[in-house]
Amino acid sequence: MNHIEDELKKTLGRTEAPETLLPGIMKRLPATSRTARMPWTARLANFFRAPWIPWAAAACTACLVLLVSGVLYYRVLAPETAEPFAGKTPVSGLAEIEQGRQAKEQLLIALQIASEKLTEASQAVNQPER
């Protein structure tokens, strides 16, 4: 019985790991687990080597191109149609927008009155009074 106990103690007892064990384990670990020990520059480099990076870069470029095109269209290429923020001197704020709307309203009223009077005058000239 004592012999069995001795064998068990011997088998289950604490022993030092061989020196080749740790490098072996590290080799078997996946790459992602190893990055924790890498310097940040290496980790950054690894990040940009990821397979989805080119797609993300293409998407960002496309968005940038669309944004620049939109701004160019509204500011330069189509200032006549892109109201009310169009033109080379864009409106600066809500107060100016309100002022512009009022000015437009007044302009249409003024032209309406002027055109009415001109029409009256030309009708009267073309159709002498009866």
Binding site: E80, T81, E83, P84, A86, G87, V91, E96, Q99, G100, R101, A103, K104, Q106, L107, L108, I109, A110, L111, Q112, I113, A114, S115, E116, K117, L118, T119, E120, A121, S122, Q123, A124, V125, Q127, E129, R130
Partner: protein
């Protein structure tokens, strides 16, 4: 809005400040004062749709549009002197009377159109419409195509402004016809 008018543009600009006193007597007043900067601002708010595009084209190069229109409860609210002061200004050099309609009927009024121009360019237009219960002065400063302006009538969808001659609610000339 008070406008300090540049000297170079003063010749086509009429001064009708003597009409200010009529505001108290009038039932309805339309007072539009649009100098060059306000015209430019208004222009930026005009769309590219047909009617507004036509307006935008029409006001290109204009220095100002000024309208004063009074509608009165009673006839005789303004005086002949009020009209004379305006006519005196349009008698000056450069102005020509384009047309004048004088109604024989008492219920209708007179309508005069004046234009200021140099050799080839229209520099301003003045319209004076004086009915028994209505007085309207329109002063457009700068190059304007009168035919195009006339063609704009009824295109803006602006509701009745109440500036027609008051007796029947119809325009003076329509009463004559």
């Amino acid at each position: 809005v008070t406008v300090t008018w540049p000297v170079v543009a003063q010749d086509a600009r009429l001064d009708y400040s003597h009409l200010d006193r009529l505001a108290d007597k009038a039932e309805n007043v339309v007072d539009v004062t649009l100098d060059e900067s306000l015209l430019r601002l208004a222009s930026r708010f005009l769309s590219a749709e047909k009617e507004e595009a036509a307006v935008k084209e029409l006001i290109q190069g204009l220095k100002g549009i000024f309208v004063r229109s009074y509608t009165f409860d009673q006839p005789g609210s303004y005086t002949a002197d009020d009209l004379r002061i305006i006519r005196d200004q349009t008698n000056k050099a450069g102005w020509k009377r384009l047309m004048g309609v004088r109604s024989k009927r008492q219920s209708s009024g007179n309508l005069e159109v004046y234009m200021m121009h140099d050799d080839r360019t229209v520099r301003g237009v003045a319209i004076l419409a004086a009915g028994p219960r209505q007085l309207t002065v329109v002063n457009i400063v700068g190059p304007i195509d009168i035919a195009k302006l006339r063609d704009l009538e009824g295109q803006f969808g602006i509701p009745e402004l109440g500036i027609e001659d008051g007796e029947s609610g119809k325009k003076g000339k329509e009463e004559d016809e």
